[in-house]
Symmetry: C2
Subunit: 192 residues, 2 copies
DNA sequence: GACACCTTACTGACCAGTAAGTAGAGTCGC
DNA sequence: GCGACTCTACTTACTGGTCAGTAAGGTGTC
């Protein structure tokens, strides 16, 4: 009966978000239902609706959390070198892969046409964040002389971002594809 | 009453496949129903089930058609130079983009976890085809001296394939992303 | 007694899939 | 050249399941 043991900290809302996140990244937003969450959580369907009245509310909350998390992620490694930042991004992808998941921007853009309007706008903001960050890394990498590539930093950032998103999807068929793409990007950037 | 005028050629089965293809590439396989097709076609729902008893039959037929079409596509340009072949692949992506669609391998790998088994296997074969072809182009490009890149042809092929798949998804938010990625890939390969 | 956080119980929409019937066109025996 | 048969390509009518979403009630806590 210690106050630490009754896990008040982990409230239902957060559990819902965590479960929804895992479901979205493996099955897609349209392909999971409130039933999937409530069954796993041991509550009734309507409990989910209490926290997130519409499914799009849940979706928007998910993407907002991604944005916040991603901004914390980039801020936390603002002091790292560009090549270290690139490796951090690769590790992020490894984590998704380890859980049979794909990139959130990947699933969201694939399903974009069927997403509710509010989710679509949030997705756009999230993709812009990730895209801008990839461009930042390779721009600063070239500025400090550790990365070398032709063309613009925006173009190279887009290639890195798109290739990693594609690689996570490719990795669903061939486990080695992710490693292969990571290695090739390092070589294309001339770092390591 | 000429025998040519009563368009017997365009049979329902092909119309179903064409409509299903467009729906899958824009909405995804799980997000379209037989209703979508039958309403557009002016027939009843069960008419679709006559041609494709299960939805997975329709899905498998779709991917099989992709495989056949893609093999014809690659055979037709076997004589072209590697850089011309690359441009042909880019034009393929442009066509998808022009119809607000994404790459079939993109949507199928995103939805993979929710696809029926037979579709999953077909998808794997299709992805292997496209992936092998991308590697072939850059391998032959390097062999004849018009493309230059570090690392293996397989790695570079994977990057090109994954980047183009990702670029089509990115292009749903920013129209210029596709052009940007295409240009950057050309520059990375040192051709043009 | 007010509020947060659930519950039970329900609605209406949509979905894949099935069963049975039918219209028309082609084929065969005679 | 005509009825009987058969096959293709549908139709109508239905089932059972899943879904998001709602309304109203309960329960514990402050």
């Amino acid at each position: 009966m210690k106050p630490e043991t009754d896990a008040r900290i982990t409230d239902t809302r957060k559990k819902i978000l965590d479960l929804a996140e895992a479901l979205m990244l493996s099955r897609g937003f349209n392909a999971f239902s409130y039933q999937h969450i409530s069954a796993e959580l041991g509550v009734r369907n309507a409990a989910i609706h209490y926290h997130f009245p519409k499914k799009s509310d849940l979706g928007v909350a998910l993407i907002e959390r991604y944005c916040r998390r991603f901004e914390r992620f980039t801020q936390a490694q603002a002091e790292l070198s560009p090549s270290e930042q690139l490796e951090q991004y690769f590790e992020l992808a490894d984590r998704y892969f380890g859980q049979q998941q794909i990139c959130p921007s990947g699933i969201l853009s694939a399903e974009l046409q069927t997403l509710p309007d509010d989710m679509r706008q949030q997705t756009q903001a999230f993709v812009a964040l990730m895209r801008g960050w990839a461009a930042d890394i390779v721009r600063r990498g070239r500025d400090v002389g550790v990365m070398h590539y032709p063309g613009s930093a925006e173009g190279m950032g887009d290639v890195v971002f798109a290739a990693m998103q594609g690689a996570l999807q490719l990795a669903r068929f061939d486990q080695q594809a992710l490693q292969s793409v990571k290695l090739q990007i390092r070589q294309l950037l001339g770092c390591q």
